[in-house]
Amino acid sequence: MTPPAIEVRQVRKTFAIRSGRVVAVDDVSFAIPPGGVLGVVGESGCGKSTLARLILGLLAPDSGEVTVEGQTVGGMDRKARARLIQPVFQDPFSSLNPLARVRDIVAMPLVAQGTFGRAEIERRVDELLARVGLSAEMGRRLPAELSGGQRQRVAIARALVLRPRIVVCDEPTSALDVSVQAQILNLLAELRRDLRLTYLFISHNLAVVEHVASEVAVMYLGRIVERGTTDALFAKPEHPYTKALLASVLTPEPGLGVPDVGLGDALPDPANIPPGCRFHPRCPVAEPRCASERPPLKERAGGGVECWIA
């Protein structure tokens, strides 16, 4: 049996701050099959970027385990890991070396492996630049001479130049204009199909996640509070937080006004996680036990939901 492309088992990650500890990821478990796309949604501070870094091996979990194609990420050789899993980050303005030419940026992962000859490097860089829709002339430019969308194409070419099987995309289109966002989303979808890639796709934009993901996990204050297939989750959300998130999406339909999502003022603070269900201070349908008892995980076809009421 082939192992999952990514498997996360009971992973917990905390950070020390002056007044104690912030729990960024709290007992999270999931698996993504090869070729799948798991979308992770949640608001700022919910732990989604920490999760991405744990999966990339850039952070070590306090407890639990992250495996990629059956191998523990923490125990892998850096070069082997780079051939298997690669990131695409949000901000194409800060994730590219401003002093390096585009060609050299894309070549860097190959050079770092130390096993590729010069001709092979040149050939692969040419191939990738063409694949992501950048001309050879663009390859000679500096990042500052490119638009946001072109920079994100460079970041994608760099991520794919070692032919990895898994790509972690952390808000890859959030810094882009809508017309450019559409170009990049189409490119990512095409690359996944042609190269049979597995994506972990993090975004705060639910419409984007619905477009790209086969499964969705909703994070709130470090935990996955609901998970399911994209179709099921969007058609029939069960967790009150998922419902609120969906209700907050302003679709371009005139006349509907701005919805009242009914979440109140109590904003989530990862340094001060409420007891019981961590969503209860904002939940419009909370019951007394939600404030004291931790909700169980209720299994659903293709996922689950952590809520007393759902």
Partner: protein
């Protein structure tokens, strides 16, 4: 009703770049006029030009720029300073950089009022507390004594709104007021703005890149591209009947929950925005447009598709065409 804000053929140049090219629009009392477009289209520069807050070196010209009938073009800076923050107020995108980190919320809010009106510190503090409560901030008394860094992004944006309302403005210019916020907080802030605007009869010029926001809050929309308003219409008309190929393209780029199919490409607009210098002629969108022909390199006609719907394109009004 006469317009609160009238802009006719506004032009702003920075050196050899034309950022705003002949923009005309009006905002009436009680109206929300959305200026929508992508980064670099000149929407923020337009709002800064109205407030006369352009960077040094920018050149501003217009046939007319008036607030409540008063000409702003010839108004000296002292007169402008009397209007700014008073009868016309502005909310910026980033509440962290537009609040002074070294002063409490209370001192920044009361300063606005005391600068423009003869009121006591005590009365100003009371008004600040009232407005904080009005924008949905609990325990306003405590918040007045806090510093900006002690508040979340959503709270800071509410403070910015409350501060803009201190002098009972007639016109509020909000530049991407919710872009830095989470979606749930965005919905709360937009509801708040819409409610205040309705209750106080404010004219609101809302600048955004988000067509979802436009659809939900605007009465009227102007779509900007490369420094020009390429289409202007009532909100319902614009979404039902977009005429300019750029507007049509933008609408196809937005993934709509429940209406997009996976593995089916989103509509995208190919290419990138051109750089516009002096002497540029013709339609700025022509290199990205599916309907472009040789005539698009010459002067572009402005067509009317109804009494309140105008667009800048060679395509005559008729049955709406959509790109294949």
């Amino acid at each position: 009703m006469s317009a609160l804000l009238e802009i006719e053929r506004l032009q702003v140049d920075f050196g050899r770049t034309s950022a705003v090219r002949g923009v005309s629009l009006t905002v009436a009392p009680g109206e929300t006029h959305c200026l929508v477009g992508e980064s670099g289209c000149g929407k923020s520069v337009t709002s800064l030009a109205v407030m006369n807050l352009l960077a040094r070196g920018a050149r501003r010209r217009a046939d007319r720029l008036a607030f409540q009938g008063q000409d702003l073009l010839g108004l000296p800076e002292r007169g402008m300073a009397r209007l700014r923050g008073n009868a016309m107020a502005m909310i910026f995108q980033e509440p962290m950089t537009s609040l002074n980190p070294a002063y409490t919320i209370g001192s920044q809010m009361t300063e606005v009022l005391r600068r423009h009106k003869a009121v006591s510190q005590r009365a100003a503090t009371e008004r600040a507390a009232d407005l904080l409560a009005r924008v949905g901030i609990t325990a306003p008394g405590m918040r007045l004594g806090q510093f900006p860094h002690q508040l979340s992004g959503g709270l800071r944006q509410r403070v910015m709104i409350a501060m803009a309302l201190m002098c009972e403005p007639r016109l509020l210019i909000a530049d991407e007021p919710t872009t830095a916020l989470d979606v749930t907080v965005q919905a709360q802030i937009l509801r708040l703005l819409a409610g205040l605007q309705r209750d106080l009869g404010l004219g609101l010029l809302l600048i955004t890149h988000d067509l979802g926001i436009v659809a939900r809050v605007a009465t009227r929309v102007s779509v900007m591209y490369a420094g020009e308003v390429v289409e202007s219409a009532t909100t319902a008309d614009l979404f039902a009947n977009p005429r300019h190929p750029y507007t049509q393209g933008l609408l196809r780029c937005v993934p709509v929950p429940g209406k997009v199919r996976r593995d089916e490409p989103l509509g995208a607009i190919r290419g990138t925005v051109p750089r516009i210098g002096p002497g540029f002629e013709g339609c700025a969108f022509r290199d990205r447009c599916d309907f472009a022909d040789a005539s698009c390199a010459r002067a572009v006609p402005r067509h009317a598709a109804g009494a309140t719907h105008e667009y800048l394109c060679r395509l005559a009004p008729g049955p709406a065409k959509t790109a294949a």
